[in-house]
């Protein structure tokens, strides 16, 4: 072959290190075919895995919207939960329109509504957050800033890991035994549910916050010390402000987890169908309504459950989005 004239039609590998022609001609393919095949195969496999992972996610959202969205409306959020569904529908059978008007009968299928459960979810989860987040963050500060590798710190860390693994229904039973039973009829309440949820959130907050605190560079702690600051200054004015976006995320994960929990709530919150904004007295949550509605044979109850499920997902999602937004804004400010 004389001077290089276009890429040679050579198939396979040109053998770059030894083939002088390949060394100077960038158009020659010197990567082994097997390697290119492996590369292509890996790319396809990874994309396939992504699709497989995305299917259940998309499916859940699609089904939720399809089954639950049609009942959503202003009333859904503001009205009491319809209580005895079958009888209301039956009461109107054969009664003519004039009579219905006259006696003010609600006829046909009552529209599903979930107002009290939304309020109850926000109330119990909010109370749980108020309990678990300060305690959890304080514990994490102890673990990372003070205790470090002391025996107490290691014990707390171990217990908190164990707590993460405890099934949530055990938390419910625990609070049921030590709180609800003790106070009898006054026992079941949003506060009791909050206690159970707080037990659930605590280890998530502790370990999440500890991880974030560990990411705060020691240089900043040293800078505080070198300026004559005490440890407490370092924690309050340097470490916690730096870690705030991360702590928010950790707390948020815990809140989102708690908002969707059913088991800890079942024994502790009682049941109601009307609004209860107080931390005491029976209450209800979306998760509980989904549970009740799904196991009921009544079609309206089933529909209620779907709508409640969609609402719960939206509530949890907006909590996440809000906190993430706050965290991002804050960290952007820090980052300039």
């Amino acid at each position: 072959m004389s001077a290089v004239s276009g890429p040679p039609a050579a198939s396979g590998v040109a053998g770059f290190p030894f083939d002088t022609r390949a060394r100077t001609d960038l158009r020659l393919r010197t990567v082994a075919t097997a390697r290119r095949v492996r590369d292509r195969f890996a790319t396809v496999a990874l994309c396939a895995a992504l699709v497989v992972a995305a299917v259940p996610l998309v499916a859940v959202v699609v089904v939720l919207v399809a089954k639950g969205a049609r009942w959503l409306g202003w009333d859904f959020f503001t009205s009491d939960i319809p209580r005895v569904t079958g009888r209301v529908a039956g009461a109107c059978e054969g009664v003519d329109a004039a009579l219905r008007e006259k006696y003010g009968l609600t006829c046909g299928t009552p529209r599903p509504a979930m107002g009290p459960a939304i309020l109850g979810t926000l109330l119990s989860t909010g109370l749980a957050a108020l309990i678990a987040i300060p305690v959890g963050v304080a514990a994490a500060v102890y673990l990372n800033e003070i205790g470090r590798s002391s025996r107490t710190a290691r014990a707390v860390r171990f217990l908190s890991d164990v707590m993460t693994g405890i099934p949530s229904i055990v938390m419910g039973l625990f609070v049921y035994t030590v709180w609800v039973v003790r106070f009898g009829t006054a026992g079941p309440s949003a506060f009791a549910a909050a206690l159970a949820l707080a037990c659930l959130m605590l280890p998530i907050v502790v370990r999440g916050t500890e991880e974030v605190l560990r990411l705060v560079p020691d240089e900043l702690r040293h800078a505080n010390v070198a300026l004559g600051g005490r440890g407490v200054h370092g924690v309050l004015r340097v470490v916690l402000p730096c870690a705030l976006p991360g702590i928010t995320t950790a707390a948020l994960l815990a809140v989102a987890r708690a908002a969707g929990e059913t088991a800890p709530v079942l024994f502790t919150i009682g049941m109601t169908y009307s609004f209860n904004a107080a931390p005491w007295g029976p209450n209800t949550t979306l998760a509980q309504q989904i549970f009740e509605g799904a196991k009921s044979g009544d079609p309206l109850a089933n529909r209620l459950a779907w709508s409640a499920a969609l609402t719960l997902v939206v509530v949890v999602f907006s909590l996440s989005a809000a906190a993430r937004f706050i965290a991002n804004r804050y960290s952007t400010r820090l980052g300039g």
Binding site: H222, A223, V225, G229, G335
Partner: protein
Amino acid sequence: MAILPSTRPSETSVAAAIPSTYGVETGVAGTDNASDGQGTLHSTLPHQAQPGAGPDPVFEVRNLTVRYGSHVAVRDVSTEIARNEVTAVIGPSGCGKSTFLRCFNRMNDLVEGCRVEGTIAYHGVNVYDPAVPPVEVRRRIGMVFQKPTPFPRSIHHNVAYGLRLAGVRQGIDDLVETALRRAALWDEVKDRLNASALSLSGGQQQRLCIARAIAVEPEVLLMDEPCSALDPIATARIESLLEELKGRFSIVIVTHNMQQAARVSGRTMFFTTETDEHADRHVGVLVEHDTTERIFSNPRDERTENYVTGRFG
């Protein structure tokens, strides 16, 4: 024994009135290294015993030994730190320069397993005296670290931080401005004091850290390789800043860069490593402390000469 001429003319007249302790120290301090001295001067003047800083030193270091667990990092250093001068600490990696520096403001307290023996007298009081709270030491002795360590808050907040710790409540804005001006940063940041300190360049961040350290008017400023993370232009800025600061503060600067030591300092300490007989580990020792001019032109110790001429390290 030889008393080195002070770099400050006003003190040459007092050179004769050197406190007698120097003589005592020279006689007492370790003679373990006398064998490597080449001339008579070396054998009579053990390597750690040269009077460091002339009269009125800001620190008097006596028999300072630092251990990390069982490992001796710095052995038996006795010297002084000159007041209102820049003292450079040079030496090869692992010779204990930073460890030595961090003894002055007790930053080594934060290192687990670190033990400090000997005394460092600051105005006659040992900074390691049990009655001295470390916090009080660090409020009087500022420090700038190798990497810039601004808090991820506003520029103003960074400088005001130390002031607030020191209990200053009024006139913070003025003090922040003064500190930033002294750190030659004011003109660059005066319009954006509330911007994040992280939006500054590396060199600006380091000057911010210097401003933060000097805002509380410490008497001493310790600098641990403050330019090693900076480009040459930022380094030049910091060096000219040191020139301006040295009349006001006593500065001790650890540096890997011998040219930098030669440029910025009036006095230089040379540390090196010796191999421990018992374990195969390196121990940092102070070889020589003298005027920078002498260290770089006519050092007493052969090891110093080898180092500064680039034959070693």
